[in-house]
Symmetry: C2
Subunit: 246 residues, 2 copies
């Protein structure tokens, strides 16, 4: 009886998966879960996750702080809903696309865009995904590898590899470009030049000299992301060839 399990699920999950019963009685709601979540996402986008408090969210919605708790059980719940809504639908491709590399690249680039648009997502992923939004992305990535001879465990490993890369790259780029107004654009590069003396950190000093941290030298950030992704997918290609020969 799988439905029995459903009854034991936390209420958040039942709502997320559309299992909550409609109520239809009582006072007409001025707020809705969707409005609350959308406002929370907008607030986090604009002012960062640290600025997201129930009080400030209520202020933005023009209601009292405690009103929010009629729609979300607590701040953790709210963040789960935010996560589910902010990632949006994954790119579409069939169950076993012929071009795994193109599909996975598209997946990674779009996910990168999501993380760049909503940088707070990276900060609040502390537990494995349980919402339909994130699981849809996971499913899409696994489907991108559907045409390859890899075993399921290997496919999962590859997807995690790409996911971690996308997350890390987005986080790095965000943290580098999000120095608010206190410092100029290349402040980090200048700071490193001052701190990383060649005697102590020879390789780092050479890398800095080469302009690795200089945002204006070299390629655009998105190109850097693509280059790293290509390295990564080269490795996946090796694994796929190996699996095909076995």
């Amino acid at each position: 009886m799988p439905d029995d399990i459903g009854n034991e699920l936390p209420h958040v999950l039942n709502v997320l998966w559309g299992r909550a019963k409609p109520k239809g009685r009582g006072r007409t709601p001025a707020l809705s879960l969707e409005r609350v979540v959308a406002a929370a996402i907008a607030l986090a986008d604009e002012e960062g996750l640290a600025a997201l408090s129930m009080a400030r969210l209520a202020e933005r919605l023009g209601c009292a702080p405690m009103s929010l708790y009629r729609h979300v059980a607590g701040k953790d719940d709210l963040q789960l809903f935010m996560l589910n809504a902010a990632c949006g639908p994954p790119p579409e491709f069939g169950t076993a696309p012929a071009d795994w590399r193109g599909s996975l690249t598209r997946w990674a680039v779009e996910l990168f865009g999501v993380y760049r648009r909503h940088p707070w997502i990276v900060q609040l992923v502390n537990s494995p995904p349980v919402d339909p939004g994130q699981l849809a992305w996971l499913d899409a990535a696994l489907r991108a590898l559907g045409g390859t001879p890899l075993a399921w465990r290997a496919r999962f490993s590859v997807v995690m590899l790409v996911l971690h890369y996308v997350r890390g790259a987005a986080q790095l780029l965000t943290s580098l470009s999000a120095e608010p107004e206190e410092r100029a654009d290349g402040a980090y590069a200048a700071l490193l030049t001052e701190l990383a003396h060649p005697g102590r950190f020879p390789a780092l000093a050479r890398a800095i000299e080469a302009g690795v941290f200089d945002p204006h030298a070299g390629a655009a950030p998105d190109d850097d992301f693509r280059a790293g992704l290509d390295h990564l997918l080269d490795g996946v290609g090796v694994a796929i060839e190996r699996a095909a020969q076995a």
Copy 2:
């Protein structure tokens, strides 16, 4: 005059980089920065980053909460010191080791160990590294590639690739195994089986069936980590061969 720049640095950085002047006068300190940081690390290790508050830290040290502020300027400062201290020294290898793959593997495995021992590190990296501890690791990874024909920018890209993978893998493993006591070990797998119906998430459902999320089936977590790392380094190898031929 580079020393002028030093005077403009935030005080935290001067302390981190050993540029703070000794004082020598006044009441003998009962606390020390080292003791405060060590206690904070222990607290975060044992009870998680969320449980780290100035009050609880003071309690653990047997002092009043406000005493801590004589050694750190605030909680952010404290966390920077924690980051610097917790990562420890990176593995040793020369400036241009012959075996880049072995060196980088060792680097990644040891860093993975650090993240597993101090899971909170992953949660508080929001800005680029400015402390000697983290920069030493960065330098070591760049040195691991010292014998390859890659350009500096490409080396940096590879290091970031590996770094992101290590971070992500550690975070995933921690979040999967850290379900405190409320649920059994394979609870997440069971939950997914319930939620991810094959009609909606075909690939995910098949992956779950294949036991991807089952902690007892298949390889040990560390082996999974090594397998993913090998995929990744295969890709790096491709890039290195390409650079050698050019």
